[in-house]
Structures are given as structure tokens and as C-alpha cells.
Amino acid sequence: MDGAALIHRLHFAFTVTFHYLFPQLTMGLALLIVVLKTMALRTGNDAYNQAARFWAKIFGINFLMGVVTGIPMEFQFGTNWSHFARLTGGVIGQPLVMEGVFSFFLESAFLGLFLYGEKRLGPKGHWWAAFLVFLGSWLSGFFIIVTDAWMQHPVAYQRFADGSFQVISFWGLLFNPWALLQYAHNMSGAVITAAFVMSAVGAYYLLEGIFIEQGRIFLRVGVIAGVIFSILQIFPTGDLHGRYMAQHQPVTTAAMEGLFKTETGAPIVILGQPDEEHRRIDNPLAVNKVLSFLIYGHTSAEVKGLNEFPKDVWPTNIPLLYYSYHIMAGLGTIFVAVMVVAVFLLWRKKLFASRWMLWILMLCLPFPYIANTAGWMTAEIGRQPWLVYNIMRTTEGYSKNVHAGNALFTLLGFMGLYTVLAILFLYLVHREILHGPGGAVTDVNLAGPITVA
């Protein structure tokens, strides 16, 4: 891979990784806010409305960051990956336009009403505004997953003599089995982030001794959502996705698991460092036969190792792929353990007094972000060396007319700009958390601009 190709890959990797720190919370929080609004409607307890208002403020800042870092993504297909764009516009142009037409218009229209229209809309109307924002953000996620899933597992297309693609089945593209599995797994991951963030803020309030009543609501909703979705993340979504992948990208599965040689009754490697040169795992901590069982349902099944595949179809960075996958799966397992204990304490009515558990929940805050990022890295590094799996190589897709110097210039520009964004984001969110929930319905004339974020 020459210099320019590497810079173009880093360019996309950096901007998309930074971008996805925000939508994962937006999408998860949108669901939890609908839950809070529903509880408020059903119980008539205004504390739930206050909780929803507090999270709406965090949501607004987070959504803005998602929007401004998301716009560059749509353009980078053309700027940095022009040859890929030229050939695939007839396929993935479709879900990308659908995202704009079906979800961005919806979200942008109703977010302003949701953030600042509570008085004007009344309780039911405001619930609908929250619901439509949730719907818009989850649809947006769906169209992006459809786009990525087509690159992972191309379906419903036809290729012309000049190499370009077009869709031959509208529904076939939207209901690509890979997309459905990946969507379920990804959205559950987004709710995990929101659940951990919500319970971390609740835990912080209880530990600090401020906003006690709200802190308890955050913990209750966060922990219950957390236990449900961290279990769903592993079973069935992760399990099904992993099996489907083993079937369609066996070389990726072998690299993720660090399986260099084909084995019957293959072990699962829990810890260890892959040594690509000598084709082995150093310092392995492995459990026999588990991998065969996980993929094929019986302990003696044969799992193909990397040795079965020519080296030019191996993922290009096997150690990074292996670590991304292990970090994702390891953290996912820890999330289940943390949330099961927390929900048990909640059930025994001991959670709010268990300071050690509150400390754990608070300190867990960054880890769902790491797990979601590692999950996406597993998917995208695992797709290498292909841009469109088994059809078009990554080295064929980038903009040959944009040389490495220009691409590096703009990559550095994005790094600088996004550092500023990150600082502003952390500062503003921290201030909102300290300011805390409470107060009446936001009054537009006191709150400043009516914004759509």
C-alpha cells in the first residue's frame, strides 16, 4: 500500500471514529428519553419530565456535534474515495440519499420542537416530538448500516462492463441479512452507551450527595436498560452476527480469533499476543473447543485457520483486528457482569446505598465508547483488504488525483478542529451535569436562542 492510500484511509478512519462518538449516545439516549417521557405520561410524576428535560440538554449538545462531524462523512466518499464513489453510486448512493430524505429532514424538523416546544405542544404532543426524533435517529442509523453492510456483504447488485454497479432489488439491498444483524448489534451497542452514561451521572449525583431524587431515576432507568441491552448485545445479536460472519468472511473470523491453523475442536483465545511472523499466539490463555461450539454448535467442528487462505486476502492488519475484537468482546462480557450485579442490588433495594457499586458505575462511563469503537474497527479492519468484499480492493478506490500531501494537509486540519470540538463538548456537558436537572419547563425567552441543534 503506497503512502497516499494510507493517508486516505487514516483520513476516513479518523473522521468517522470521532464522528461515531456522538451518534451512539444520540441514538441510545433518544430511546431512553422516550422511555422517560412515557413514564411521565403514565405515572403523572413530574420528576420524569424533569429528567427528560435534563437529558434533552445533553442530547442537544451531543446532536450538534454529531451533525457537524457527520456532514464531512457524506462528502468524503467523493473527495477521498472518488473511484469507489464513481463505481458504487448506483448502489450505496441510494441508502445515503434515503438517509437525508427520510431521516435528516425528520430529525431536523422535530428536534427544535422537542427541545423548546414543550409548553406549546403539551404533554402528548411533546411525547410525539420525542418519538419522532428517536425514529429519525434510528432510521439514520439503519441507512448507514445498509451502506456499510453492502460493502461487507454485497447483494442485490448488477455490474456493468465499465466496472460500475447498480441496484437490481430495492428491498434486497435494504434487507441484506448482514445489514439486519449488524443493525441489531449496533443499535443495542448504542443503547448500552446511553445506559452507562445515564447511570454514571446518576451514580455521580448520589456519591456527591446532590440531585438525589433525579440521580435515583437515572440509575434505575440506566441500570435496567443496561442489563437488558448488554445481554442482547451478546445474545442473540453478537452471536448471530458472529456466525454469519464466520460463514461469509471466514478469513476475517480466523484473524479476529487469532486462529492461524485449521483445527477441529478449535479453542477460543481469551488473552495472548498474535505473532504474525511465526503464525502463533504468544502467552495464550485459551479454552479448548469453545470456538467450534460458538460457531457451529458442537465442540468437534472444524474451524478454518488463516493457513487455508492465500496471504493476499488476509486482513491487512491482523494484530489490530485481533485486539479490536478482543477488547470489544472482553468489555461486552464485563458490561453484563457489572449490570447484572447492579440490577440485583437495585432489586434488593441496596443499590443507592452501595457506594462501591456507584463508584464502579461512575467509572465505567468511558468503556462503552471504547467497546463501540473497537466493534466498528473489528468490522472495518476485518473487511480489508477489500472495499467491497471480494470484489473491489481498498487500493483501487481512493482518489488518485488527490496526492498524499493534500490529503495529509486536510487530515491535520480535521485533527486540529476536532480537538477544539472535543474540548468544547466536554466543557459544556460537564457544566450541564453540574448545573443539574430541575426547574420548570424551559422558557424560550429565558433560555436564549430557539435552536434546532
Binding site: 472518488s82 445515503l96 422535530f110 447498480q166 430495492f170 480535521f414 478542529l417 468544547l424 436562542p449 434546532v452
Partner: protein
Amino acid sequence: MLFVWFWLVAVMITAYVVLDGFDLGAGVLHLFIAKTDEERRTVIRTIGPVWDGNEVWLLAGGGTLYFAFPLLYASGFSGFYLPLMMVLWLLVLRGIGIELRGHASSHVWRGFFDGCFGISSLLLIIFFGAALGNVIRGVPLQKDGYFFLPLWTDWRVGPRPGVLDWYTVIAGLVALVALTVHGAHYVALKTDGELNLRARRLAGMLWPALLIVTLLSLWATLSVRAELLNNYKNYPVLFVIPAAVAASLICMFVFRWKTNDKAVFLSSSAFLIFMLVGAAAAVYPNLLMSTTDPTLNVTVYNAATGQHSLSIGLIWWGFGMALAVSYFVFIYRMFKGKVTQTGTGGYA
């Protein structure tokens, strides 16, 4: 089919310019006509509920271009790499400026966000105008359909142009004057009192400038690319478009004199629409012209996606856009009326 998709893309870009145009214009002028913190907040509140939705037209338009004419999207976006990346950075800064101002608690920070909003709006308008200028002037397309433009070369319109030359600078200037006037009309429509008066006065002062730069751009365009008159010569009925441009300029003048803010705003919207429609009618079926060899032009014929994709596209696109337009009608009705500086009127 190709004709239809050409015009769908043109309509989306036009919708973007008319809608986001007024919030870009408001961004430029708020530094000049809004003196106090309260007034600046009021200007931002006039666009607050709608700017993000307006910007979605850019995304949806760009996406539609990608879907319908992948070669144009690929060639144009990579060829205009540097200015486009700068546009993306400016869009980030503008969004931050509009939205985070309300979170700032000190004058210094508010000044910072006001500056972000104003300067990025100004530069975005100039970039968008220059971009249109580049498309009309043409680019050094190569045999493989790609090109790469430096930011500037010798500022001349030759076979080796840069993004900026005397012609595209004029185009940027036209955009700046036109959208500032359009933004002033919008702010006048949505405010009352002192702000309303200042916005009207600014629009009045800029009207002669708009007339001059419009004529200047017409002359410059025909001297750079005389063949743009070909479509007009073949279909003389198209001359109604420049006539409509002239009529909307006159309407702007007349309705401002009658102080009908709504009609003035609609006139400048019509002006922008007819200017863009006129340009689109002149370039069709070309999408991007070569400065060296007309056989290398990117046209609707060589840039389009397969027929099947385009046919089913019409169905879902039409359905989605009908939904989108209904949200817009709903939102603009929810937030209709003037924004008052104090009290509970307007959007409360």
C-alpha cells in the same frame, strides 16, 4: 429519465441556496446590523429553528448527485478537494457558532461564537459562489474523467485555471451581495423595531450593488463561455428566465418602496431561483465542462447511474421528498410571525 434527474438535482441545489441562503446572509449581516447582545440573539433566533433543516438540503442534494451522477460527484468532489474541505470546516464552525452561543455565559465567549458564525457564513457564501463560477468556467478534465485544481494559479481564465481567478472571484462577489440582500430581507421580515429598520436600510443600500454585479456577471460569463448562449438560441422560449431575473430585481425595488417585507423576501427568493435555473438551462446537458477539449465534458449521458437504479429511485425519492416538504410546511407554520426582542411574543 436523465433530463428528470438533472432537474431534480438542480431543484435541490436551488432549494438549498434559497433556504440556507437567508441564514448565511443573516450570518454575514448580524455582525453589522445587530449591535447589542439582545439584538444578536434575536437575529440568531430568527434562523434558530430552521437552519439545520435548511442545511439538510445540501446533504440531500449532494447525496442525490452521488446517486444519480456518480461520475460528477467523484470527479467534482475530488477535483475541488481543497476548497471543499475548507467548506466542510466552515460548516462545522458555523454550526458551533449558532448553537453554542446560547450556552456561553461570558461576553468574550459570545463574541467568539458570533465571530465564528459571521466569518464562516461570509466565507461559505464566497466559496459557494466561486464553486458555481468554476462549474460554469470549466475545469481541466483529463481522459479518465478526473482533474485536480489548485487554489489559484495566475488568476487568469486559461486552460490551467485555479479555483480562484478573476471570473470565479466575480461569481463569489455576486453570491455575497445576493445572499446578504436575501438575508437582510429575511431578518426584516422576522423582526420589528430598530432591527427591522436597519435590515431594510442595508438591503436598500445593497440593491444598486446587486444590480451592478448581476450585469457584471452576465458580461463576464458570456466573455468566458460564449457557447452558453447556444441552448437559449435553440430554444428562444428560455429567454423568459433572464426576463424573470430582471422582473424579480424590479419587484425587490418596488416592494421595498412599499415596505412590504414579505413580498420583498419572495422577490429575492425568485431572483435566486431564476439565476440558478438560468445557469442550469445554459449548461444542460453538460455537468462539468472541460477547459481543454469539449469531448471530455462530463455530461448527463456519461455520468449517470444505470437506468434501473434511476427508475426505482424516482419512486422512493418522490415519496421521501413529499414527506420532507410536509415537515417544512409544518415547521415554518409553527414558527411563523416575528421574533420579538423581549416579552412573550413570537416563538414563545
